[in-house]
């Protein structure tokens, strides 16, 4: 059984790695809350949607779905398309989430871009319970998002400071995590493929449609290169 000290230890290790998300999610959450408000949805909707959906970009899309004609199947398929990238995160986390017991259900529920990138690349200190570390990262991210969205929904119209551009904090975080992963690995084929093929697809398809073709081509090329890459990545650190 976990005792209180071990939980505190995991929490103290997890919190610092989520601070950039605190800034990003409070800001984006507030922006989302304001957007909901302007679109005619009260703070109750904002709270409920940020709590249950917990997938930032999809929640913005969902506002448009709610304002359009009722089309539940259309909503489902659009969500599957927008969030298809989560499939990559799931396949990547199969091993890391192994043996986390019941916590696994919440870990999977909260597997957003940010939870994935932090939990996948985190150097969890020795002696800290991995399952609880990842759970706290996910829970903190989730709380920041719900908190930001609720603040935006309740008080959004009062915010006066010019925060234009703060959303870049998420891009900066992903760039930093990409570099951290780059420094850890011995072969960079996959990182370069992911970056290059996504940029290529972004220019060929538009911003709303490029993710699925990118994913298909990435998997296709990685499958073709399997023999070659399995040799190279064999020694890669897997903590």
């Amino acid at each position: 059984m976990m005792n209180k000290n071990e939980l505190q230890l995991a929490f103290r290790a997890a919190f610092p790695s989520t601070i950039p998300i605190l800034a990003g999610f409070l800001f984006l959450g507030i922006a989302y809350g304001i957007f909901m408000n302007v679109s005619g949805f009260g703070a109750g909707y904002t709270f409920l949607m940020s709590l249950l959906i917990f997938a930032g970009s999809m929640e913005f899309v969902a506002v448009n779905l709610l304002l359009g004609a009722f089309n539940p199947l259309g909503a489902l398929f659009l969500t599957l398309m927008v969030n298809a990238r989560h499939l990559f995160y799931g396949i990547s986390m199969l091993e890391k989430y192994r043996g986390t017991g019941l916590k696994k259900i919440y870990l999977i529920f909260g597997l957003c871009d940010e939870s994935f990138s932090i939990n996948y690349t985190a150097n969890i200190p020795h002696g800290v319970n991995k399952g609880w570390f990842m759970l706290f990262v996910t829970l903190l991210n989730h709380s920041y998002w719900v908190l930001g969205a609720s603040i935006g929904g309740l008080f959004g119209s009062l915010v006066q400071v010019n925060m234009e551009g703060l959303e870049f904090v998420m891009t900066a975080l992903f760039v930093v995590i990409f570099i951290e992963q780059w420094m850890k690995e011995t072969a960079h084929h996959s990182a370069l493929l992911g970056l290059g093929l996504s940029i290529l697809c972004l220019f060929i398809f538009n911003s709303g449609n490029f993710v699925i073709p990118s994913m298909i081509i990435i998997v296709f090329v990685l499958t073709l290169m399997r023999k070659q890459l399995e040799k190279k990545t064999g020694e890669r650190t897997c903590q």
Partner: protein, 110 residues
Amino acid sequence: MSMTLLERMITIGMVVLGTMMTRFIPFIVFPSGRPTPTYIRYLGKVLPSAALGLLVVYSIKDVKFLSGNHGVPELISIVLVALLHIWKRNMFLSIASGTLVYMFLIQFLF
């Protein structure tokens, strides 16, 4: 045209369902009790780096590179974040500086 409360709840429910499907499917198809096929284990090993690359591009997907300011503020800030991080390897420094520079660029220069 406005939806009823029930229709709204169903729509939100569909978005929740779709999101959860994309998150749970890999874990349902490859449960931890059974050995994962070697091909999927291979993908699990090589996909993360590619997924992180995709995520970087995804986060700037709505930048207009072919018109307006051609994504110059984004590119300057990304290069700054990358160089700073390779040099100092301090997450907070890289993220905070990059974000502040970006905010300055789009609020005052572009």
